[in-house]
Each structure stands twice: as C-alpha cells, then as structure tokens.
Symmetry: C2
Subunit: 204 residues, 2 copies
C-alpha cells in the first residue's frame, strides 16, 4: 500500500520523538499528547507500517522505531556531500552527526582551489570540476548547498548534471530543478514568515 505523504511526515516526526527515548512502550493516546495529532490518525499511520507492533498495552517503542526506519528507507547509511566551503559549509565538515550517523559526509566541493587545499578537514575536499566524477564514484545522492546566493543556481545545475537526487538549499533563492530532483530550502526568514502566518491567520 502507498503511504499518504502527510502520514510519512508524521511518522518522521514520531521517529524523532522515539529516538529521544522515554518509555519503552507507548499508547496512541500518549503519542497524541506528545505530538498533537489525533490518536485515530496515529493508529492509522502506524498501521501503514504493517509491522504487527501493537499490543493491548500499546506499541513497543524500539520495534516502532525500527519499523518506521525500515518503511521510510532510513535504515541504511546514505552518502552526502557539501558544496561551498565558506562559513556554513565548512562548519558541516566537522559536524558530529555526519561522522557516525545515518548520513555520511563523503566529500566537500568549492570552486576556490586555494580553499580546497588550505582547509583541514576530516572529509576529502575537491575543486568543483571534480564534482561529476566524485559524486558518481561514491554514489552520493544528496548534497548540502552552501554557496552564496548568486552562485546557488549554477552550483545546483552542476549537481544535477552529476546526477544528484536531493538538495538541501541554504541560499535564499528558489532553485529551478527538474521534477525528479528533490529540494528542501533552509532559510530562517522563510521560517519566520511561516510562523507569522500561523500566528496571525489562525482561525479566530
């Protein structure tokens, strides 16, 4: 069965809750108070996992966590890279979660060859012109895009040409990408606007 998109997002959020530990077993009512959705939709969401987790006492947290990871295909290590090694990009080179977690930072790129040579990094660094080769050699699927605003589209085009499948875009621009490439924008002003809208246009 195909899982509805909103259900996937809720399951992802639930996974976050589960990872922070807490009780070994959870009922849908408890999840409701933690997460804010109705217990009915929580039960329905979990039922999509088809994993036989529920007892009369509720759900086994560990089993639930595994089932979500497996169903959402988050159960294996995935390779990522970072493009643009300025302040933000180079900070991610040393980010702990990328050294041991489910996302393995495998390469860093920058158009400035000097920067590539001088920066010390636990991750191999390459000049931009090697992007195609490196991304394909290591089967990198997702990239962090940390270049300045005016270079973002150009860098994205290169990533796409190299066969990247997903981009986390930190530049405040709307990237033009083909439909098979997924993009998530991370920009604080967008978040503020979204909050502002929720605060000021809520059903009175």
């Amino acid at each position: 069965m195909e899982i509805p998109e909103p259900a996937k997002e809720r399951l992802l959020y639930l996974l976050k809750l589960l990872e922070k530990g807490g009780s070994a077993t959870l009922t849908s009512a408890q999840i409701e108070s933690l997460a804010g959705w109705s217990r009915d939709s929580i039960r329905k969401d979990i039922s999509y996992l088809a994993a036989d987790i529920g007892k009369a006492s509720g759900y086994d947290s560990a089993a639930l966590e595994n089932a979500i990871k497996k169903t959402l295909r988050l159960d294996r290590i995935q390779k990522i890279c970072v493009v643009g090694l300025g302040r933000l990009g180079s900070a991610y080179l040393n980010f702990g979660a990328f050294q041991h977690g489910e996302f393995e930072l495998t390469a860093g790129f920058d158009a400035n060859v000097n920067r590539v040579e001088i920066l010390s990094s636990p991750v191999p660094l390459y000049p931009t012109y090697k992007m195609n080769e490196v991304i394909n050699r290591f089967a990198i699927e997702i990239s962090l895009l940390c270049v300045p605003e005016d270079q973002a589209q150009l860098a994205a085009d290169k990533l796409i040409a190299a066969g990247i499948r997903g981009i986390v875009n930190f530049a405040p621009v709307v990237l033009k990408v083909p439909p098979e490439v997924a993009v998530r924008n991370v920009y604080v002003v967008d978040e503020l606007r979204s909050l502002s809208i929720r605060i000021h246009t809520e059903k009175a």
Copy 2:
C-alpha cells in the same frame, strides 16, 4: 473566507518567486512552470486573495506581491529576538535581513552574563532573567532558539512564560509547547531525512 493551510504555503512560496523579480506580469501557466503546481490550483490560491489582480494578460506581479503580503499579514515589521548567543545565535546578531527587513531583531539573550557584556552587537543584549520584561516591553512575538540541545526545553519554557507566540528551534529536540505556541524546527538531519524519504519512497 478561510484560506486552506496548503494554499497559504503555496502563496508564501509564490511570494518568494515574485520578490526575486522577473517579469512585471505573470500568467498562471508561467507560474506553473516556475513553481510546479497546477495552473488551476494557482488560480484558486490567488482567488483567495480577493484582490482583483488578474487581467486577460495575466497577473500584475507587484500587485500580486502586495496582495499576498497583505492577506498573509506580512505587511508590517515584526519584532523578534534570539536566545543563546553562541556561534549560531551571535551570527544572527549581524544578519543583514534583520536590520532592514520585515523582521526586526530587537534583543539577544544569554544565560552567561559575561558573554552578554563582552559581545559587541548592533542589537541590545540582556541576561536571561530580563527575558520576560524585555519581550513584553518591546512586544516581541517570535524568537530564534539557538541554545545547546540540553538547554532548549528550559529556554523555551522561559520564552513561553514571557508570552512568546512562535519559536524557530535550531536544537535537535522536539519541544513540548502549549498548542497556542507555534514552532518550526530547523535541523539539517531532518531535512536530509525528508529528502531521503521523497527520493526512496516515491510512487514507482
């Protein structure tokens, strides 16, 4: 009429497109190719604005931009603050968009009094115990939460007690907040997971 939540998000995204300039007039078909949604839903979304913008030649970009801002209540300056003046938090003190744009950074807070005194900043800084007073005095509605993971919930509780209405949370935790407080989480691993799910669970 109440605007559907998904429509609000699309309008917000469309606003971003409009702000980057481009042509002075846009048809729904052009927006379709830029944004990726169907022209029908675009026309419906814009119709919620009830603003009489469309001509036979399409929409006037400037008028459309204004109408979106007005309808989504983004047409006035809103005050924000930042809690936690470490690497990330202090970087936002000098963020250009918060000095002239629609969000005005009005205060910075940190529990470490020393840090508050030593940091040089274009924005007034205060120790945490003044949070309540300052937030109310300046009518600050939204806060950036940039403290370490293990202090995030505590700091959020203080913000909520001070009457904050929205939080942009940069810590990798699920904040427990009352339903009237809005939260947006900004965490790169969440974004990567979301992309991964889209890439690997797309309808084949």
